[in-house]
């Protein structure tokens, strides 16, 4: 039987990322539909803790300690390539998180293997030609369905494509050591700088409270932060707010920022220009507050409040806090 390899990603504390568990959940469904098996892989020495958590989502997870903890994506790719050539020759598809590291890994692995890449999948299933991958293209204007022409390929999967569901019983964890066969030019990490009061990541946030030019300044974002805290979400922003220096680039949503798919997108003072829309239009629910009744956002939000974002935002915060008691 052929296999789907799911490459899991661990964070700085060696915990498995939420997106990795979503990719694993998708892989299980695909394996059932395609008559394949799954195998989890964490190419990082010392990741047994994260692997244990990952194994709640997959029958078998391998930790490959042929790669040092904190190795670059290129080094991980060289080790995965070596494994695909030796112990994992029955793997036909590799599924990865569409995270920065996942993209780097997919690119290097594709170069080593010559396998095709279908990036940023928003869904996947089976068809006449095997695996069919759904992607959202042209800023969400079209949904495409694609296949690999030779049955072998690499897929990166976007956050919130599926909801992670653990198996009834946890899987097993094994450790292997694969020596890389391709040489990778060295990149050393000289320092890791934690930003003071780093914002909650918007990548896989369930709720995002986002602000644009209308927020008016860095102080204005304090209200958004309070709303995000009350809702259990993260703060996002438009490019205009980031360019004005009100909030970090890591929180930017849109064409040159991140593409997000939260359950709730609360947009304050955002007009909804195409450059921003492409980053958030697939949110399940969009609620917007804006003074301009004719802003583009009024055409695709589910609920559109015509009003002052500070006044409505404060009233909303009071009511959310009163509700939480």
């Amino acid at each position: 039987m052929t296999r789907i390899l799911v490459v899991g990603e661990v964070d700085a504390t060696e915990a498995i990322t939420k997106l990795s568990t979503e990719v694993a959940t998708l892989a299980r469904a695909l394996a059932d539909a395609l008559g394949m098996e799954t195998l989890g892989l964490i190419p990082s020495a010392g990741a047994e803790g994260g692997a244990g958590e990952f194994a709640r989502y997959l029958p078998t997870v391998v930790v490959d300690d042929g790669v040092a903890s904190g190795a670059t994506a290129s080094e991980r790719a060289a080790t995965i390539f070596a494994a695909l050539e030796s112990s994992l020759t029955d793997v036909h598809h590799v599924l990865l998180p569409a995270s920065p590291d996942g993209r780097d890994l997919a690119g290097a692995l594709s170069a080593f293997t010559g396998w095709g890449v279908l990036a940023n999948a928003t869904g996947a299933g089976s068809g006449d030609d095997g695996l069919v991958v759904e992607q959202s293209v042209f800023g969400g204007k079209l949904i495409t369905r694609s296949t690999f022409t030779d049955g072998l390929g690499i897929v990166t999967v976007r956050p919130n494509t599926v909801t992670a569901v653990a198996q009834d019983a946890p899987g097993t964890v094994e450790t292997r050591t694969t020596a890389p066969t391709a040489s990778v030019a060295g990149v050393s990490v000289v320092d890791r700088i934690e930003s003071e009061g780093a914002a909650v990541s918007i990548d896989d946030a369930r709720i995002i409270v986002s602000g644009g030019r209308g927020v008016g300044g860095a102080e204005g974002f304090a209200l958004l932060q309070d709303l995000a805290d009350a809702l259990g979400g993260a703060v996002g922003a438009t490019r205009a707010a980031v360019d004005s220096g009100w909030i970090a680039y890591s929180q930017q949503i849109g064409q040159t920022g991140k593409i997000v798919k939260p359950q709730l997108y609360l947009a304050l003072g955002i007009s909804g220009a195409i450059q921003h829309k492409v980053g958030m239009q697939t949110a399940e629910t969009i609620v917007a507050v804006n003074r301009d009744p004719d802003a583009p956002m009024a055409e695709f939000a589910d609920l559109y409040v015509v009003g002052d974002l500070v006044e409505v935002g404060r009233a909303l915060l009071d009511q959310l806090r009163a509700r939480a008691g």
Partner: protein
């Protein structure tokens, strides 16, 4: 200091006119071509570094249709010194794997200290090509750069890479390949002088035969992926508009969120 900047002409995302041909390939005639947004940020960073060094050149490298020089002129007008365009009818319909191989082969014909690329392109958004080129050519790969500091004397480069909680400081020997983001800073607008000068700058073209690549392994013939079907996404439900005073508006928002189990 010589910096190669990978530059892709893409359909203008602001045009809203992008579409696919019946065979699933991009219809390049449907919308005007522009320089990919993220490529402009790394180009700006390259121009600043070469200006600060007081010597060197910025070389654009594109794999694109024969009409690409029109788009490349804008990047030349910003200040890049010359361009190299890999163009060949056999490349039409190339997937990311072929694009990676072709650009990797073309890079070997150019002398450089650093290669810059945007983290992704606004048309494909895959963001996998730079990492692949680095892997094929044995170059150190430093991605998601928010700051780039080369040291020509030590022949090493430092990059501030955006991490989920802040920055990682990465270091590697030159030559190296770096992918960058908007965090590098706003690109300049071409000056009138720059636009005039760009007319006389050189764009050398390379065909597949000059790179020793078999045409049957690239383009539609060699594509590893194929688009079979496409459709617009399901339309969103109609917008409900609220024009009440703040307290009442907020009450309705909370009720709406509660209905959807979001609070």
């Amino acid at each position: 200091m010589r910096i190669v900047v990978l530059t892709k002409p893409v359909p203008d995302p602001a045009s809203g006119a992008e579409r696919l041909l019946p065979d699933g390939r991009l219809d390049r005639a449907a919308s005007p071509a522009v320089v990919n947004g993220n490529d402009e940020y790394v180009l700006e960073a390259a121009l600043k570094l070469v200006e600060a060094a007081g010597e060197g050149e910025v070389i654009l490298l594109s794999m694109a249709p024969a009409t690409a020089p029109e788009t490349m002129r804008k990047a030349l007008a910003m200040g890049a010194h010359r361009g190299v365009l890999v163009t060949d009818p056999a490349l039409e319909g190339s997937c990311a794997v072929a694009t990676t191989r072709v650009l990797a082969a073309a890079l070997k014909t150019i002398e450089f200290d650093l290669v810059f690329a945007g983290v992704d392109t606004s048309d494909g958004v895959a963001g996998v090509v730079p990492a692949g080129i680095a892997a094929l050519n044995g170059l150190p790969y430093l991605s998601y750069a928010a700051g780039i500091e080369p040291d020509m004397t030590a022949r090493r480069v430092r990059v501030r890479r955006i991490s989920p909680t802040g920055f990682d400081v990465l270091e590697a020997a030159m030559p190296a390949l770096i992918s960058g983001t908007q965090a590098l800073g706003e690109p300049r607008y071409p000056s009138l002088k720059g636009i005039m000068a760009a007319r006389n700058k050189t764009i050398d073209t390379l065909a597949l035969a000059e790179l020793g690549i078999d045409p049957s392994t690239v383009g539609t013939a060699g594509a590893k992926t194929k688009v079979h079907a496409w459709e617009p996404p399901p339309p969103r439900a109609a917008t409900r508009v609220i024009r009440d005073a703040p307290d009442e508006a907020a009450r309705q928002v909370v009720a709406f969120l509660a209905e959807r189990r979001l609070v």
